[in-house]
Symmetry: C2
Subunit: 506 residues, 2 copies
């Protein structure tokens, strides 16, 4: 067996343990009673440490070096190795990346991070509804201290800046420099654009909100019907509820969650469609690479591109809303002009600065991300103390969107990410939104019948294109390379701006 | 750190991985869509192999020997060791037992067993409703071959007969000789006793079945109310549905399942009460030993004693049925004499030979177990070929209960156990039923207000006694020792016979 083949066997086991932890995370969010938290933390910490020890085995380092040398010597049959094909080369690259991230930390830090993340997340779960930042501050500060320690260690191992080293886990090769540049362009574009959109919106009659209540069971039934239209296969996945909606599980068993607001059916529905986009990506990942690193998604920007392509590009398109409107009316027994497609389209594309990211419209959403990106960079750099976060958050919101959260649950307590240890993750939402616009434009150009099919609630032509050009590529290519392969060019913010302009000022 | 202390640290991790696998098993039965099976098998196999490798590390063998020598030298301060208290001695005994079972097998057999079990269980899930034994036979034969291989290896490692070695995993120290002796006594007692019971029953009016249907949601609501009465804490557990009802999870997050038959509310209700007995045992295990082997249940006979004590002893008692009858009537909006406590008591203690073990009454239940015990001993010994199982099963039923299953789904396809790899497990049901009678008699003698409290649906006095004498003991004492500690004597089948006689001929 060659070094590479031995690594494949080893990483298959490692991957199975990591996805097992993923299922336990899903359960923690969607099923676990609160009293199960300490035991679950023990289980997840044990899995983290087990994976850490596996990767820290000096034999793995030796195998990686040997396999890389073999790959470099491809074609020369050195050490009896046959040439690695592009998939195996990409797999080896991903193995090395995973290995670098994991071995940068010592076991003590891995354990402390795992336990502090779980404890901080559990405290946040209570602090958020109680609007009590002070309650979570001690654990949050402790977690940030550990994350900064991890960032420093990874920076040394990856030879990158500390924040970039964190980013690399979610967005391989991502850098603050590039993100800041892209975000600066957006920050320059958006205020004036937003002003124009609001001005134009003011000249039109405000859309009517269909009168509720909308029973959760009926919302769920409608959501399931639309999920099926997107292509979600319930023999390979589930829909459940959780405090923070997400997509978890594994490609052959994708678990998405939502939360129902009985006063507003669109929130859960659009959330389910968003998560269905993630789910379709997972389901479409290359089956022959299921348990190898290269069989995973290309990164979180690519992942968000798939959820936002479905939710923001396809499902807020006039074609799809025309299909959805009568279904929604029938589902809730509604009647009257509020249920007309035109009105629902105006509602789902309504622009209005608000406090909550996950409820934000497409135009103001980037401001939420720019704020978080700035704040997390400052916290990682040590320039912002956690105790000063609420004030900095509120100042930032005022500065970016002209509104000031009256309380922390509408401010810095709203998102789970920092509290569960995900730092360097937020930028991928807006990178994903831009990639979604670029991919949707390319897909429609390549397959002109896509909009017509969406008008029947049929995502098959769109998904067929995405499966071929994105999903089936796994981590063979990383974001820009993937976009270039699929659309002919790397990430181009202009396409996103063009999309916004066409939709909101067209 | 002493060898024993090092072992505690190691087994804490091992235990966390094993209970993580338990959560994945629960999910597989209660939540997982069918398409997730292959990925789940990968995850569980990876966990099994990881645990196997941990225990097979020569350092563990050295630590065990050293800790045992330290313990033997207690009081002499040899090697700087302080004397181990009884809990630590019992913990060390359980570590050694777990180690013996695990290291008896090589990694190849562990992997083959794990994968074949998952595959065979998944095939059984389809073969049972399809009534198609032939469909599961190839995998079943393959699994039996591996189980026999494991039994032989464990027999050598534990210095016991192959079947006893399997039994030891579920019932530490259990032996076919003792079980056969107990079962022979029952087999001699029951036929004549059953005849008398049926004769007497025939002299009375048959109880009326309350007319259904009983909507599953209403059954569930009633079940949750009664669970709360038993003491089930929903911040530390869940109730869900699954094909084969069971109790899983961990002590601080106990997951019980049931299945609803809309034509018969008593089946799910009694099932839920049964699993609640298991759940209370798990919840009451000693908190300070949560992640150590000694913190687990004393074995499956002890576990079944707790579920059957609740279901068969307490919940089929006139006191409890009098409490339950008006609640059930109100829950389903029933009226008329069928809902009178006296009628429901007659229904829930009705004796009638039937094909399905889990639906069997208390008097005929042991026959189902005796049959399975004989058949599995024969299969492990190589005296019964899997292909001949359906015929042997049907002959056995005819011989023991005078009825012959017309099809395999009412015969050898009905239980999950053999198909998911649990061999040497069945006898614990009847050992548990006998222990339940013995414990309930002792509890009532010690705490005379127990029946009165049950008449209010209040299990607190019963549970307080059980928690002190059984639950909190963990694996400090094993079955007979535990019974002696709690009731003053080892397992005594005469107490069970006296219970049956009092209830059915009293």
């Amino acid at each position: 067996m060659t070094a590479y083949e031995t690594l494949e066997r080893r990483f298959q086991r490692l991957n199975a343990l990591r996805v097992a932890a993923g299922v336990l995370h899903w359960d923690m969010s969607a099923m676990m009673p609160s009293g199960g938290a300490p035991a679950r933390s023990e289980q997840l910490t044990a899995l983290d440490l087990t994976c850490h020890e596996w990767l820290s085995d000096p034999a793995v380092a030796d195998l990686l070096s040997e396999a890389e040398q073999d790959a470099a010597a491809r074609g020369t049959k050195a050490r009896g190795a046959t040439a690695l094909d592009p998939w195996r080369r990409a797999n080896l690259r991903e193995m090395r990346r995973i290995w670098r991230h994991e071995t940068a930390l010592d076991a003590g830090l891995v354990e402390a991070l795992a336990k502090t993340q779980h404890a901080c997340e559990m405290t946040w779960r209570e602090a958020r509804p109680a609007n009590d930042f002070a309650a979570v501050l001690p654990r949050f500060s402790e977690l940030l201290k550990l994350v900064r320690e991890a960032a420093a260690a990874k920076a040394a191992a990856l030879d990158r800046a500390p924040y970039d080293a964190l980013l690399d886990e979610y967005e391989p090769g991502g850098s603050a420099t590039r993100i800041d540049e892209i975000f600066a362009g957006l920050a320059a574009f958006l205020p004036e654009f937003l002003g124009k959109v609001l001005e134009r919106q003011a000249t039109r009659a405000a859309p009517m909100a269909p009168p509720g209540p909308f029973p959760a069971a009926k919302q769920e039934a409608l959501a399931r019907r639309l999920m099926a239209g997107v292509g979600f296969d319930f023999t390979h996945g589930r829909l459940d509820t959780s405090l923070h909606p997400f997509c978890g599980g594994v490609p052959d068993d994708v678990r998405i969650t939502t939360r129902y607001d009985e006063a507003d059916f669109a929130s859960a529905l659009m959330g389910v469609l968003h998560e269905s986009g993630h789910a379709m990506y997972e389901r479409g990942l290359p089956a022959e690479w299921r348990l190898q690193p290269v069989g995973a998604a290309a990164g979180m920007a690519a992942h968000e591109s798939q959820s936002l392509l479905v939710e923001m590009q396809a499902c807020r398109d006039v074609a799809f809303v025309s299909h959805m409107a009568p279904l929604a009316r029938a589902a809730f027994g509604g009647e009257g002009p509020a249920w007309e497609a035109e009105n629902l389209l105006a509602l789902t594309t309504r622009v209005a600065p608000g406090f909550i990211r996950v409820d934000a419209d497409e135009v103001t959403y980037p401001a939420h991300i720019i704020l978080r990106s700035r704040l997390e960079q400052a916290m990682i750099a040590g320039d912002l103390d956690p105790k000063d976060l609420p004030g900095a958050w509120n100042d930032g919101m005022e500065n970016l969107l002209g509104i000031r959260p009256p309380e922390d649950r509408l401010g810095c307590l709203q998102d789970i990410h920092w509290y569960d240890g995900a730092w360097g993750y937020f930028p991928t939402y807006t990178l994903g939104a831009m990639a979604a616009a670029q991919l949707f434009a390319a897909a429609k150009k390549a397959v002109p019948e896509i909009p017509k099919a969406l008008g029947r609630g049929d995502f098959a032509p769109l998904m067929a294109w995405l499966r071929e050009h994105v999903h089936s590529q796994g981590a063979l290519r990383i974001t820009d390379d993937l976009l270039k392969h699929a659309t002919g060019k790397v990430l181009d913010p202009e396409i996103y701006k063009a999309h916004l302009t066409a939709r909101y000022l067209g």
